[in-house]
Symmetry: C2
Subunit: 220 residues, 2 copies
Amino acid sequence: MSIIEKKRGIVIALDVTDVDSAVELARQLCDLEGNFVFKIGRPLEMQRGYKVISEIKKVSRIPVVYDGKIADIPYISSRIAQIAYEAGADAVIVHGFVGRDVIESILELNRGDVIVVMSMTHPGASQYINPIAKQLVETVNTLGVDGVVLPATKPEIIASVAPVLRENIYIMSPGIKVQGAKVGDAIRAGADYEITGRAIYGASDPKKAAEELYKEILEV
Amino acid sequence: MSIIEKKRGIVIALDVTDVDSAVELARQLCDLEGNFVFKIGRPLEMQRGYKVISEIKKVSRIPVVYDGKIADIPYISSRIAQIAYEAGADAVIVHGFVGRDVIESILELNRGDVIVVMSMTHPGASQYINPIAKQLVETVNTLGVDGVVLPATKPEIIASVAPVLRENIYIMSPGIKVQGAKVGDAIRAGADYEITGRAIYGASDPKKAAEELYKEILEV
C-alpha cells in the first residue's frame, strides 16, 4: 500500500534556499485542505543534511517526498534512501535510468514509497533519458513502484505512458508555470499530481495560492 | 586548468557513516605522500549537509571530490554543485546521461573540476547507462570537462573510451576489490585513478594501506 494516494493533488516543491524559510513555509501550509504533498530537493537538504527532512516533517502531517534523484550503485542508493526514510520521508525519488537493481535495492527497504523518474523537462533530457521512458514502463510495472515522474512540459509522453502503467501507480509532473506548462496540462494528459514551487512559495499568500491551484486542477 | 592532475593516483572514498570518523580518517591521511584525492559520497554528506565537505577540507590539503552523482535539471544541478564548491569541494561528479545542458550548467559556474559519470559498475548499468558511454565521448570532449568516471569492473569500456578522450581528461575508476576488480586492472586499461574505500578505511593502518596501494598502481 502506497503512502501517497493515487488521486489528483498538488506537490509543493519547497525549493527555498534556507531551512528556516522552508520550515516556516511548511508550518504556514500545515492545515491545507485537499490533497497535498511536500517535496524536498537536494539544494535544501544539503543545508543541514537529513535533519531538514525531520524538521519539515515535524511541523506538518503532509506527506514528504525526498527528491534526491538517487542515481548511484544499489548499495549506496539504498543507503541514501534509508537515511531519508529514517529522517521522516514518506517517499524517495530515484532515477529509472540507473537500472532495475537500483530501484529494487530501495524497494527492499520497505520503508516508504518509491517514485521513479521516467522522463525529465529540460532540453538535454531528449538525448538519453526521454527515449527510454517507454522501456521503463515494464520495469516500474513489474517491480511494484508507487509512483513515477513524467514531465508536464511533454504531455505526449504522459499520454503515452499513463494508459500502460499498472493502475495504482501515481504520476507526478514537474514543469508547471516557470518551465512552460500550464496548470492542468499534465492532469489532462493523465497525471495525478502537478508539482509546483515558485507559484506557491513566491506568492504573497502561499496558502491561498496552493488552495487555488488545487481547486484549478480539480476542475480540469 | 584542472585542479586534480591527470596522472596515476588513488581516490580514497570516505564512505564511513559518521562525520567524526570521516574527519578523523582525513586527518590521519593528511600527510600521505603521493597523488591522492578524497571522495565524499551522499550518505556521508546527508549527515550534516555541505558542512561535511568543509570539515574534511579543513583538516587536509588533499583535493576533495563531492560524489553527488548530480542528475537534476540544469537549474537545480548547478545549485547543488555551487553549494558543494562553496563548501570547499575541488570537484563535483555529475551524470552524463542527464544530457549536455546539465553538464554545461555546472561548467559555467567555473568553480572547480567537473567529472562526468560515463558508465557504472553495477549489473543494472548495462540496461541504459553503459550502452551510451561511447556516445558521451563527444559530449565530454567538446564541453571541456576535467574528468570522467569509468568502471574498473569493465576494463573493456575503459580501453575503448580512453584512447578517444581529449588528452587532458582524467579517468577515475570505481569497483576495486569489494566489487570485484583487482588493483591495477583499471590503470592497465587506461585509467588514471583507482577509487577505493573499504580497503583503506577498513585497514588497521589506513595510511599504510593507502601508500601501499599507491605504490602498487605506480608499478603497473
